[in-house]
Protein backbone atom coordinates (compact mmCIF):
# COMPACT_ATOMS: atom_id res chain seq x y z
CA UNK A 1 0.00 0.00 0.00
CA UNK A 2 1.19 3.50 -0.79
CA UNK A 3 1.73 5.08 2.61
CA UNK A 4 2.45 8.64 1.46
CA UNK A 5 -0.03 11.47 1.59
CA UNK A 6 -1.69 12.37 -1.70
CA UNK A 7 -2.71 16.01 -1.62
CA UNK A 8 -3.89 16.45 -5.20
CA UNK A 9 -6.97 18.70 -5.38
CA UNK A 10 -9.80 16.96 -7.27
CA UNK A 11 -11.94 18.72 -9.90
CA UNK A 12 -15.04 20.44 -8.53
CA UNK A 13 -17.91 18.11 -7.71
CA UNK A 14 -21.12 18.97 -9.67
CA UNK A 15 -23.06 19.26 -6.39
CA UNK A 16 -20.77 22.14 -5.37
CA UNK A 17 -22.04 24.35 -8.22
CA UNK A 18 -24.75 25.75 -5.91
CA UNK A 19 -21.98 27.06 -3.63
CA UNK A 20 -21.12 29.57 -6.37
CA UNK A 21 -24.60 30.96 -7.23
CA UNK A 22 -24.57 34.69 -8.01
CA UNK A 23 -25.80 36.51 -4.85
CA UNK A 24 -29.00 37.86 -6.44
CA UNK A 25 -29.96 34.40 -7.63
CA UNK A 26 -29.17 32.96 -4.19
CA UNK A 27 -31.49 35.51 -2.57
CA UNK A 28 -34.27 34.54 -4.97
CA UNK A 29 -33.87 30.89 -4.06
CA UNK A 30 -33.80 31.75 -0.35
CA UNK A 31 -36.93 33.89 -0.50
CA UNK A 32 -38.97 31.37 -2.48
CA UNK A 33 -38.01 28.61 -0.07
CA UNK A 34 -38.56 30.78 3.01
CA UNK A 35 -42.15 31.62 1.99
CA UNK A 36 -43.03 27.95 1.45
CA UNK A 37 -41.39 26.90 4.68
CA UNK A 38 -43.08 29.58 6.79
CA UNK A 39 -46.45 28.67 5.29
CA UNK A 40 -45.92 25.01 6.24
CA UNK A 41 -44.77 25.93 9.74
CA UNK A 42 -47.76 28.21 10.19
CA UNK A 43 -50.21 25.60 8.90
CA UNK A 44 -48.91 22.58 10.80
CA UNK A 45 -47.07 23.66 13.95
CA UNK A 46 -49.37 25.07 16.65
CA UNK A 47 -46.53 26.81 18.52
CA UNK A 48 -45.38 28.71 15.43
CA UNK A 49 -48.98 29.69 14.53
CA UNK A 50 -49.64 30.87 18.08
CA UNK A 51 -46.49 32.99 18.12
CA UNK A 52 -47.16 34.52 14.68
CA UNK A 53 -50.78 35.17 15.62
CA UNK A 54 -49.53 36.89 18.77
CA UNK A 55 -47.50 39.24 16.57
CA UNK A 56 -50.42 39.58 14.11
CA UNK A 57 -48.11 38.19 11.48
CA UNK A 58 -49.24 36.10 8.50
CA UNK A 59 -47.01 34.13 6.13
CA UNK A 60 -48.13 36.49 3.39
CA UNK A 61 -46.62 39.43 5.30
CA UNK A 62 -43.21 38.26 4.17
CA UNK A 63 -42.69 40.55 1.17
CA UNK A 64 -38.90 40.36 0.88
CA UNK A 65 -36.14 38.20 2.31
CA UNK A 66 -35.31 40.95 4.80
CA UNK A 67 -38.74 40.51 6.37
CA UNK A 68 -37.35 37.37 8.00
CA UNK A 69 -36.53 39.57 11.02
CA UNK A 70 -40.29 39.85 11.68
CA UNK A 71 -40.48 36.13 12.48
CA UNK A 72 -40.47 34.98 16.11
CA UNK A 73 -37.37 33.28 17.52
CA UNK A 74 -37.23 29.63 18.49
CA UNK A 75 -35.10 28.46 21.41
CA UNK A 76 -33.90 25.13 22.73
CA UNK A 77 -36.51 25.01 25.49
CA UNK A 78 -39.24 25.12 22.81
CA UNK A 79 -38.06 21.70 21.68
CA UNK A 80 -37.99 20.45 25.23
CA UNK A 81 -41.44 21.86 26.03
CA UNK A 82 -42.99 20.24 22.96
CA UNK A 83 -41.21 16.89 23.47
CA UNK A 84 -41.28 14.63 21.57
CA UNK A 85 -43.18 15.57 18.39
CA UNK A 86 -44.76 18.96 19.10
CA UNK A 87 -42.77 20.84 16.46
CA UNK A 88 -43.34 18.29 13.68
CA UNK A 89 -44.93 19.74 10.57
CA UNK A 90 -45.27 16.42 8.73
CA UNK A 91 -47.51 13.45 9.56
CA UNK A 92 -45.80 10.34 10.95
CA UNK A 93 -46.45 8.61 7.61
CA UNK A 94 -43.89 10.95 6.01
CA UNK A 95 -41.33 10.92 8.82
CA UNK A 96 -38.59 8.36 8.18
CA UNK A 97 -35.97 9.13 10.84
CA UNK A 98 -35.47 10.58 14.31
CA UNK A 99 -32.36 11.82 15.99
CA UNK A 100 -32.02 13.12 19.51
CA UNK A 101 -29.44 14.99 21.50
CA UNK A 102 -28.72 14.08 25.07
CA UNK A 103 -30.41 16.59 27.30
CA UNK A 104 -28.62 17.61 30.47
CA UNK A 105 -31.91 17.84 32.30
CA UNK A 106 -34.00 14.75 31.73
CA UNK A 107 -35.72 14.65 28.36
CA UNK A 108 -33.69 14.78 25.15
CA UNK A 109 -34.19 17.16 22.24
CA UNK A 110 -35.87 15.22 19.41
CA UNK A 111 -35.57 16.05 15.72
CA UNK A 112 -37.43 14.40 12.81
CA UNK A 113 -36.72 14.02 9.08
CA UNK A 114 -38.75 13.19 5.99
CA UNK A 115 -37.00 11.35 3.16
CA UNK A 116 -36.61 14.70 1.40
CA UNK A 117 -35.00 16.17 4.53
CA UNK A 118 -32.52 13.29 4.60
CA UNK A 119 -31.74 13.82 0.92
CA UNK A 120 -31.09 17.54 1.54
CA UNK A 121 -28.92 16.75 4.55
CA UNK A 122 -26.92 14.12 2.67
CA UNK A 123 -26.34 16.65 -0.09
CA UNK A 124 -25.21 19.29 2.42
CA UNK A 125 -22.68 16.86 3.90
CA UNK A 126 -21.57 15.80 0.43
CA UNK A 127 -20.97 19.47 -0.45
CA UNK A 128 -19.14 19.90 2.89
CA UNK A 129 -16.75 17.06 2.16
CA UNK A 130 -16.26 18.15 -1.45
CA UNK A 131 -15.48 21.70 -0.26
CA UNK A 132 -12.41 20.49 1.62
CA UNK A 133 -11.21 18.26 -1.22
CA UNK A 134 -12.61 14.86 -0.21
CA UNK A 135 -13.45 12.79 -3.27
CA UNK A 136 -14.46 9.46 -4.71
CA UNK A 137 -11.62 7.07 -3.90
CA UNK A 138 -11.00 8.46 -0.44
CA UNK A 139 -11.24 6.10 2.51
CA UNK A 140 -13.27 7.89 5.15
CA UNK A 141 -13.25 6.81 8.78
CA UNK A 142 -16.36 8.11 10.51
CA UNK A 143 -15.47 8.17 14.19
CA UNK A 144 -18.42 10.26 15.29
CA UNK A 145 -20.94 8.31 17.32
CA UNK A 146 -23.60 6.48 15.32
CA UNK A 147 -27.13 6.33 16.63
CA UNK A 148 -29.29 9.09 18.03
CA UNK A 149 -26.42 11.57 17.66
CA UNK A 150 -26.49 13.19 14.21
CA UNK A 151 -22.70 13.13 13.78
CA UNK A 152 -22.11 9.52 12.71
CA UNK A 153 -25.01 8.93 10.33
CA UNK A 154 -24.81 12.48 8.96
CA UNK A 155 -21.21 12.12 7.83
CA UNK A 156 -21.82 8.53 6.80
CA UNK A 157 -24.48 9.21 4.19
CA UNK A 158 -22.76 12.33 2.89
CA UNK A 159 -19.49 10.47 2.38
CA UNK A 160 -21.24 7.55 0.69
CA UNK A 161 -23.13 9.88 -1.64
CA UNK A 162 -19.79 11.39 -2.62
CA UNK A 163 -18.61 7.94 -3.59
CA UNK A 164 -16.02 7.69 -0.85
CA UNK A 165 -15.33 4.37 0.90
CA UNK A 166 -16.78 4.67 4.37
CA UNK A 167 -15.61 2.92 7.54
CA UNK A 168 -18.55 3.27 9.96
CA UNK A 169 -16.45 2.63 13.06
CA UNK A 170 -18.39 5.08 15.28
CA UNK A 171 -16.79 6.59 18.38
CA UNK A 172 -14.54 4.98 20.97
CA UNK A 173 -12.19 2.01 20.94
CA UNK A 174 -9.18 4.16 20.18
CA UNK A 175 -6.68 1.34 19.59
CA UNK A 176 -8.89 -0.20 16.94
CA UNK A 177 -9.43 3.23 15.32
CA UNK A 178 -5.66 3.57 14.97
CA UNK A 179 -5.23 0.01 13.71
CA UNK A 180 -7.82 0.45 10.93
CA UNK A 181 -6.47 3.89 10.09
CA UNK A 182 -3.10 2.31 9.42
CA UNK A 183 -4.18 -1.01 7.89
CA UNK A 184 -6.87 0.42 5.56
CA UNK A 185 -4.78 3.43 4.55
CA UNK A 186 -7.50 5.83 5.71
CA UNK A 187 -7.22 9.23 4.01
CA UNK A 188 -9.99 11.17 5.77
CA UNK A 189 -11.11 11.04 9.40
CA UNK A 190 -14.27 12.59 10.87
CA UNK A 191 -14.51 13.09 14.65
CA UNK A 192 -14.37 15.74 17.34
CA UNK A 193 -11.10 17.70 17.42
CA UNK A 194 -10.44 16.76 21.04
CA UNK A 195 -10.86 13.09 20.22
CA UNK A 196 -8.40 13.41 17.37
CA UNK A 197 -5.83 14.94 19.75
CA UNK A 198 -6.41 11.88 21.90
CA UNK A 199 -5.84 9.68 18.81
CA UNK A 200 -2.52 11.41 18.14
CA UNK A 201 -1.40 10.81 21.74
CA UNK A 202 -2.48 7.19 21.73
CA UNK A 203 -0.91 6.48 18.33
CA UNK A 204 2.39 7.83 19.62
CA UNK A 205 2.15 5.55 22.64
CA UNK A 206 1.49 2.64 20.30
CA UNK A 207 4.57 3.55 18.29
CA UNK A 208 2.56 4.68 15.22
CA UNK A 209 3.39 7.99 13.59
CA UNK A 210 0.27 9.48 11.96
CA UNK A 211 2.52 11.68 9.85
CA UNK A 212 3.69 8.61 7.99
CA UNK A 213 0.16 7.35 7.19
CA UNK A 214 -1.86 8.30 4.07
CA UNK A 215 -4.27 10.26 6.33
CA UNK A 216 -4.40 13.82 4.95
CA UNK A 217 -7.75 15.37 5.96
CA UNK A 218 -9.65 15.74 9.21
CA UNK A 219 -13.29 16.84 9.31
CA UNK A 220 -13.70 18.09 12.85
CA UNK A 221 -16.75 19.45 14.61
CA UNK A 222 -19.45 18.93 17.24
CA UNK A 223 -17.59 21.08 19.77
CA UNK A 224 -16.00 24.52 19.74
CA UNK A 225 -12.27 24.51 19.03
CA UNK A 226 -9.56 27.07 18.56
CA UNK A 227 -7.01 28.00 15.94
CA UNK A 228 -4.31 26.80 18.36
CA UNK A 229 -5.90 23.36 18.44
CA UNK A 230 -5.88 23.33 14.65
CA UNK A 231 -2.17 24.11 14.64
CA UNK A 232 -1.47 21.35 17.16
CA UNK A 233 -3.53 18.82 15.22
CA UNK A 234 -1.83 19.68 11.94
CA UNK A 235 1.65 19.71 13.46
CA UNK A 236 1.05 16.43 15.27
CA UNK A 237 -0.29 14.45 12.34
CA UNK A 238 0.61 16.32 9.14
CA UNK A 239 -3.02 16.50 8.01
CA UNK A 240 -5.25 19.47 7.14
CA UNK A 241 -7.90 20.06 9.79
CA UNK A 242 -11.25 21.47 8.62
CA UNK A 243 -14.06 22.83 10.74
CA UNK A 244 -17.52 21.39 10.05
CA UNK A 245 -20.40 23.11 11.78
CA UNK A 246 -23.87 21.93 12.52
CA UNK A 247 -26.43 21.27 15.18
CA UNK A 248 -29.14 18.65 15.33
CA UNK A 249 -31.93 21.20 15.86
CA UNK A 250 -31.19 22.53 12.36
CA UNK A 251 -30.16 19.27 10.67
CA UNK A 252 -26.87 17.94 12.12
CA UNK A 253 -23.36 18.35 10.71
CA UNK A 254 -23.20 20.07 7.33
CA UNK A 255 -24.88 23.38 8.13
CA UNK A 256 -21.55 25.02 7.33
CA UNK A 257 -18.13 23.79 6.29
CA UNK A 258 -14.68 25.15 5.64
CA UNK A 259 -13.25 25.03 2.14
CA UNK A 260 -9.59 24.30 1.38
CA UNK A 261 -8.71 27.86 2.41
CA UNK A 262 -9.55 27.03 6.04
CA UNK A 263 -10.85 30.52 6.66
CA UNK A 264 -14.09 29.80 8.49
CA UNK A 265 -17.07 27.56 7.61
CA UNK A 266 -19.23 28.57 4.62
CA UNK A 267 -22.92 28.34 5.49
CA UNK A 268 -24.98 26.44 2.94
CA UNK A 269 -27.23 29.44 2.64
CA UNK A 270 -29.53 27.91 0.06
CA UNK A 271 -30.64 25.53 2.84
CA UNK A 272 -30.03 27.46 6.05
CA UNK A 273 -30.49 31.21 6.39
CA UNK A 274 -28.04 32.80 8.85
CA UNK A 275 -28.41 35.92 10.95
CA UNK A 276 -26.28 37.26 13.77
CA UNK A 277 -28.09 39.06 16.58
CA UNK A 278 -27.17 40.87 19.75
CA UNK A 279 -28.10 38.23 22.36
CA UNK A 280 -29.23 40.93 24.80
CA UNK A 281 -31.35 43.23 22.60
CA UNK A 282 -32.15 40.51 20.00
CA UNK A 283 -31.53 43.10 17.28
CA UNK A 284 -29.90 41.87 14.06
CA UNK A 285 -26.24 42.84 13.67
CA UNK A 286 -24.50 43.71 10.38
CA UNK A 287 -21.95 41.32 8.86
CA UNK A 288 -18.63 41.48 10.67
CA UNK A 289 -20.17 42.15 14.10
CA UNK A 290 -19.95 39.41 16.68
CA UNK A 291 -23.11 38.07 18.25
CA UNK A 292 -25.31 34.99 18.51
CA UNK A 293 -25.87 32.95 15.37
CA UNK A 294 -29.54 32.49 14.44
CA UNK A 295 -30.50 29.98 11.75
CA UNK A 296 -33.68 29.42 9.79
CA UNK A 297 -34.13 26.19 7.86
CA UNK A 298 -35.30 26.94 4.31
CA UNK A 299 -36.22 23.44 3.18
CA UNK A 300 -36.85 21.30 6.25
CA UNK A 301 -40.23 19.60 6.11
CA UNK A 302 -40.57 17.32 9.13
CA UNK A 303 -39.32 19.94 11.57
CA UNK A 304 -38.91 23.44 10.17
CA UNK A 305 -37.07 25.85 12.42
CA UNK A 306 -37.82 29.56 12.46
CA UNK A 307 -34.97 31.80 13.58
CA UNK A 308 -33.43 29.24 15.90
CA UNK A 309 -31.09 30.75 18.48
CA UNK A 310 -27.99 28.54 18.37
CA UNK A 311 -26.20 30.10 21.41
CA UNK A 312 -23.05 30.01 19.30
CA UNK A 313 -21.10 33.26 19.32
CA UNK A 314 -19.70 34.21 15.93
CA UNK A 315 -19.80 36.83 13.17
CA UNK A 316 -20.63 36.60 9.48
CA UNK A 317 -17.46 37.42 7.54
CA UNK A 318 -18.06 40.54 5.47
CA UNK A 319 -15.53 39.58 2.78
CA UNK A 320 -15.68 37.00 0.00
CA UNK A 321 -13.52 33.88 0.41
CA UNK A 322 -10.62 33.27 -1.98
CA UNK A 323 -12.34 30.08 -3.18
CA UNK A 324 -15.02 32.16 -4.91
CA UNK A 325 -17.99 30.68 -3.06
CA UNK A 326 -20.78 33.20 -2.67
CA UNK A 327 -21.86 31.45 0.53
CA UNK A 328 -21.01 33.61 3.51
CA UNK A 329 -18.62 32.31 6.14
CA UNK A 330 -18.97 32.34 9.89
CA UNK A 331 -15.99 33.04 12.10
CA UNK A 332 -14.71 29.91 13.83
CA UNK A 333 -16.86 29.30 16.82
CA UNK A 334 -14.57 29.27 19.82
CA UNK A 335 -17.30 29.68 22.36
CA UNK A 336 -20.99 29.40 23.03
CA UNK A 337 -23.02 31.76 25.09
CA UNK A 338 -24.05 28.59 27.01
CA UNK A 339 -20.46 27.83 27.97
CA UNK A 340 -20.02 31.11 29.72
CA UNK A 341 -19.38 30.81 33.43
CA UNK A 342 -19.82 33.68 35.77
CA UNK A 343 -17.25 33.41 38.53
CA UNK A 344 -17.15 36.07 41.22
CA UNK A 345 -19.07 38.21 38.76
CA UNK A 346 -16.49 37.79 36.01
CA UNK A 347 -17.49 36.21 32.68
CA UNK A 348 -15.29 33.25 31.86
CA UNK A 349 -15.19 31.12 28.71
CA UNK A 350 -13.31 27.80 28.69
CA UNK A 351 -11.57 28.95 25.50
CA UNK A 352 -9.85 31.69 27.52
CA UNK A 353 -8.37 29.09 29.85
CA UNK A 354 -7.20 27.14 26.82
CA UNK A 355 -5.53 30.21 25.34
CA UNK A 356 -3.83 30.89 28.68
CA UNK A 357 -2.53 27.32 28.99
CA UNK A 358 -1.24 27.35 25.45
CA UNK A 359 0.69 30.55 26.10
CA UNK A 360 2.79 28.70 28.64
CA UNK A 361 5.28 26.75 26.61
CA UNK A 362 4.94 23.01 26.32
CA UNK A 363 1.55 22.66 27.91
CA UNK A 364 -1.04 20.70 26.02
CA UNK A 365 -4.59 21.71 26.75
CA UNK A 366 -5.85 18.62 28.46
CA UNK A 367 -7.44 20.46 31.28
CA UNK A 368 -10.55 20.66 33.36
CA UNK A 369 -12.11 23.65 35.02
CA UNK A 370 -13.67 23.00 38.40
CA UNK A 371 -15.87 25.70 39.82
CA UNK A 372 -17.11 25.45 43.37
CA UNK A 373 -18.39 27.71 46.07
CA UNK A 374 -16.90 27.82 49.52
CA UNK A 375 -18.32 30.11 52.19
CA UNK A 376 -20.31 32.02 49.54
CA UNK A 377 -17.18 32.61 47.48
CA UNK A 378 -16.69 31.08 44.04
CA UNK A 379 -13.52 29.06 43.64
CA UNK A 380 -11.83 28.33 40.33
CA UNK A 381 -9.54 25.36 40.03
CA UNK A 382 -7.84 24.42 36.78
CA UNK A 383 -6.51 20.90 36.62
CA UNK A 384 -3.80 20.45 34.02
CA UNK A 385 -2.34 17.17 32.91
CA UNK A 386 1.44 17.01 33.05
CA UNK A 387 3.03 16.05 29.76
CA UNK A 388 6.45 14.56 29.13
CA UNK A 389 7.52 17.88 27.56
CA UNK A 390 6.41 20.01 30.47
CA UNK A 391 7.58 17.62 33.16
CA UNK A 392 10.76 18.36 35.07
CA UNK A 393 12.63 16.25 37.61
CA UNK A 394 12.93 19.13 40.09
CA UNK A 395 10.14 20.25 42.38
CA UNK A 396 11.13 23.89 42.00
CA UNK A 397 10.71 23.76 38.21
CA UNK A 398 7.28 22.16 38.59
CA UNK A 399 6.21 24.78 41.13
CA UNK A 400 7.48 27.45 38.73
CA UNK A 401 5.35 26.00 35.96
CA UNK A 402 2.27 26.05 38.19
CA UNK A 403 2.94 29.71 38.90
CA UNK A 404 3.37 30.52 35.21
CA UNK A 405 0.10 28.76 34.38
CA UNK A 406 -1.78 30.58 37.15
CA UNK A 407 -0.25 33.88 36.09
CA UNK A 408 -1.18 33.34 32.46
CA UNK A 409 -4.78 32.47 33.36
CA UNK A 410 -5.06 35.50 35.60
CA UNK A 411 -3.63 37.69 32.85
CA UNK A 412 -6.29 36.60 30.36
CA UNK A 413 -9.33 36.12 32.58
CA UNK A 414 -8.70 38.45 35.48
CA UNK A 415 -9.43 35.55 37.83
CA UNK A 416 -6.82 34.02 40.09
CA UNK A 417 -7.12 30.24 39.80
CA UNK A 418 -5.77 27.38 41.86
CA UNK A 419 -3.75 25.33 39.38
CA UNK A 420 -3.40 21.65 40.10
CA UNK A 421 -1.04 19.41 38.17
CA UNK A 422 -2.40 15.92 37.59
CA UNK A 423 -0.94 12.79 36.01
CA UNK A 424 -1.31 12.18 32.26
CA UNK A 425 -4.62 10.72 31.14
CA UNK A 426 -6.34 11.09 34.48
CA UNK A 427 -8.81 13.73 33.30
CA UNK A 428 -11.92 12.44 31.64
CA UNK A 429 -11.20 11.97 27.92
CA UNK A 430 -13.81 12.66 25.36
CA UNK A 431 -14.76 9.82 23.13
CA UNK A 432 -17.28 12.38 21.98
CA UNK A 433 -17.35 15.89 23.37
CA UNK A 434 -14.76 17.11 25.82
CA UNK A 435 -15.95 17.66 29.34
CA UNK A 436 -14.09 20.83 30.12
CA UNK A 437 -16.10 22.29 32.96
CA UNK A 438 -17.39 20.90 36.20
CA UNK A 439 -19.55 23.40 38.01
CA UNK A 440 -20.26 22.12 41.51
CA UNK A 441 -22.00 25.27 42.66
CA UNK A 442 -25.56 24.92 43.81
CA UNK A 443 -27.30 28.09 42.72
Amino acid sequence: MNMSKNREIPPMHPASAVDFLPPAQLRDVQFTRLKDMVQRAFDHVPLFRKRMDGQKLKPSDLRTLDDIVKLPFTVKTDLRDTYPFGLCASPMSEIVRFHASSGTTGKPIVVAYTQEDLNDWTRAVLRSLAACGVHNGDIVQVAYGYGLFTGGLGLHYGAEALGASVIPISGGNTDRQIMLMKDFGVTVVCCTPSYFLHLIDRATEMGINLKELPLRTGVFGAEPWTEDMRERIEAGSDIKAYDIYGLSEIVGPGVAMECVHQSGPHIFEDLFFPEVIDPKTLEPLPDGMEGELVLTTLCKRAMPMLRYRTRDITALEPTRCACGRTLRRIKRIGRRSDDMLIIRGVNLFPSQIEAALLKVEGTLPHYQIIVDRQKDLDTLEVQVEVTADAFSDTVSAMEQMKKRLAHSIEGITGLRPAVKLVAPRTLQRSEGKAKRVIDKRIM
Binding site: M206, T394, V395, K420, A423, P424
Partner: protein, 147 residues
Protein backbone atom coordinates in the same frame (compact mmCIF):
# COMPACT_ATOMS: atom_id res chain seq x y z
CA UNK B 1 30.80 9.84 34.20
CA UNK B 2 27.13 10.66 34.08
CA UNK B 3 24.34 8.29 35.02
CA UNK B 4 20.86 8.33 33.50
CA UNK B 5 18.07 8.90 35.99
CA UNK B 6 14.37 8.47 35.25
CA UNK B 7 11.85 10.81 36.85
CA UNK B 8 8.16 9.96 36.95
CA UNK B 9 5.32 12.32 37.79
CA UNK B 10 2.96 10.99 40.44
CA UNK B 11 -0.07 12.44 42.11
CA UNK B 12 0.25 12.58 45.86
CA UNK B 13 -2.39 10.07 46.84
CA UNK B 14 -2.46 6.47 48.04
CA UNK B 15 -1.56 3.87 45.44
CA UNK B 16 0.11 6.02 42.82
CA UNK B 17 3.62 4.88 43.72
CA UNK B 18 2.90 1.20 43.29
CA UNK B 19 1.76 1.44 39.64
CA UNK B 20 5.15 2.29 38.06
CA UNK B 21 6.99 -0.04 40.46
CA UNK B 22 4.74 -2.95 39.51
CA UNK B 23 5.27 -2.28 35.82
CA UNK B 24 9.03 -2.39 36.23
CA UNK B 25 8.79 -5.50 38.38
CA UNK B 26 6.74 -7.35 35.76
CA UNK B 27 9.24 -6.44 33.07
CA UNK B 28 12.09 -7.71 35.27
CA UNK B 29 13.70 -4.28 35.52
CA UNK B 30 15.59 -3.85 38.78
CA UNK B 31 15.49 -0.52 40.55
CA UNK B 32 19.05 0.22 41.63
CA UNK B 33 18.06 3.16 43.73
CA UNK B 34 15.24 5.64 44.04
CA UNK B 35 14.12 8.74 45.84
CA UNK B 36 10.76 10.35 46.19
CA UNK B 37 10.24 14.11 46.29
CA UNK B 38 6.87 15.21 47.50
CA UNK B 39 4.71 18.29 47.58
CA UNK B 40 1.19 18.57 48.91
CA UNK B 41 -0.40 17.51 45.64
CA UNK B 42 2.23 15.77 43.54
CA UNK B 43 5.41 13.78 43.87
CA UNK B 44 8.39 13.05 41.66
CA UNK B 45 9.75 9.55 41.72
CA UNK B 46 13.41 9.39 40.70
CA UNK B 47 14.83 6.08 39.67
CA UNK B 48 18.11 4.63 38.57
CA UNK B 49 17.60 1.34 36.76
CA UNK B 50 19.81 -0.92 34.69
CA UNK B 51 18.02 -0.52 31.37
CA UNK B 52 16.94 3.12 31.31
CA UNK B 53 15.64 3.14 27.72
CA UNK B 54 13.52 0.05 28.21
CA UNK B 55 12.08 1.36 31.47
CA UNK B 56 11.35 4.74 29.88
CA UNK B 57 9.53 3.20 26.94
CA UNK B 58 7.55 0.93 29.22
CA UNK B 59 6.44 3.75 31.50
CA UNK B 60 5.59 6.06 28.60
CA UNK B 61 3.58 3.39 26.86
CA UNK B 62 1.55 3.12 30.02
CA UNK B 63 0.80 6.79 30.11
CA UNK B 64 3.33 8.14 32.62
CA UNK B 65 5.07 11.47 32.18
CA UNK B 66 8.73 10.47 32.25
CA UNK B 67 11.92 12.45 31.95
CA UNK B 68 15.55 11.32 31.68
CA UNK B 69 18.12 13.46 33.49
CA UNK B 70 21.87 13.18 33.95
CA UNK B 71 23.00 12.68 37.52
CA UNK B 72 26.47 12.05 38.85
CA UNK B 73 27.37 9.31 41.32
CA UNK B 74 30.15 10.29 43.67
CA UNK B 75 32.18 8.38 46.17
CA UNK B 76 31.95 10.09 49.49
CA UNK B 77 34.23 9.10 52.33
CA UNK B 78 32.05 7.62 55.04
CA UNK B 79 33.50 9.81 57.77
CA UNK B 80 32.93 13.28 59.24
CA UNK B 81 33.54 15.93 56.59
CA UNK B 82 33.14 13.50 53.67
CA UNK B 83 30.24 15.36 52.05
CA UNK B 84 31.59 18.79 53.04
CA UNK B 85 34.78 18.10 51.07
CA UNK B 86 32.78 17.60 47.88
CA UNK B 87 30.66 20.69 48.42
CA UNK B 88 33.84 22.69 49.11
CA UNK B 89 35.07 21.69 45.67
CA UNK B 90 32.00 23.28 44.09
CA UNK B 91 32.15 26.45 46.18
CA UNK B 92 32.22 29.57 44.04
CA UNK B 93 31.59 27.75 40.75
CA UNK B 94 27.96 28.75 40.52
CA UNK B 95 26.95 25.11 40.14
CA UNK B 96 23.87 24.34 42.18
CA UNK B 97 23.00 21.04 43.81
CA UNK B 98 19.34 20.63 42.82
CA UNK B 99 19.01 17.54 44.96
CA UNK B 100 21.01 14.51 46.08
CA UNK B 101 20.25 11.11 47.51
CA UNK B 102 22.30 8.15 48.55
CA UNK B 103 22.62 4.65 47.26
CA UNK B 104 21.97 1.89 49.70
CA UNK B 105 24.90 0.17 51.35
CA UNK B 106 28.51 1.23 51.17
CA UNK B 107 31.26 0.20 48.86
CA UNK B 108 34.13 -2.10 49.71
CA UNK B 109 36.62 0.68 50.20
CA UNK B 110 34.53 2.28 52.95
CA UNK B 111 32.96 4.95 50.78
CA UNK B 112 29.29 5.81 50.53
CA UNK B 113 27.80 6.51 47.11
CA UNK B 114 25.74 9.63 46.62
CA UNK B 115 23.80 10.67 43.52
CA UNK B 116 23.84 14.37 42.71
CA UNK B 117 21.61 16.30 40.38
CA UNK B 118 23.65 19.40 39.51
CA UNK B 119 22.25 22.42 37.68
CA UNK B 120 25.04 21.94 35.12
CA UNK B 121 26.24 18.32 35.11
CA UNK B 122 29.03 18.87 32.56
CA UNK B 123 30.54 21.80 34.42
CA UNK B 124 30.26 19.82 37.65
CA UNK B 125 32.14 16.89 36.11
CA UNK B 126 34.94 19.24 35.04
CA UNK B 127 35.29 20.72 38.53
CA UNK B 128 35.18 17.29 40.19
CA UNK B 129 37.84 15.96 37.85
CA UNK B 130 40.13 18.90 38.62
CA UNK B 131 39.75 18.17 42.32
CA UNK B 132 40.36 14.46 41.83
CA UNK B 133 36.95 13.48 43.19
CA UNK B 134 35.98 10.08 41.91
CA UNK B 135 32.75 9.65 39.93
CA UNK B 136 31.15 6.29 39.29
CA UNK B 137 29.66 5.35 35.92
CA UNK B 138 26.66 3.14 35.33
CA UNK B 139 28.59 -0.07 34.60
CA UNK B 140 30.76 0.42 37.63
CA UNK B 141 27.62 1.18 39.63
CA UNK B 142 25.96 -2.07 38.54
CA UNK B 143 29.06 -4.04 39.37
CA UNK B 144 29.37 -2.53 42.82
CA UNK B 145 25.71 -3.03 43.62
CA UNK B 146 25.95 -6.67 42.64
CA UNK B 147 29.39 -7.32 44.07
Amino acid sequence: MKIKQLSVFLENKPGTLSAPCRLLAKAGINIQTCSLADTREFGILRLVVEDTDKAKRLLQRNGFAVKVTDVIALEVADEPGGLAAILDALEGTGINVEYAYSLTGRTKNGHALLLFRFSDPNAALQVLKERNINTVGSEELSRRLKG
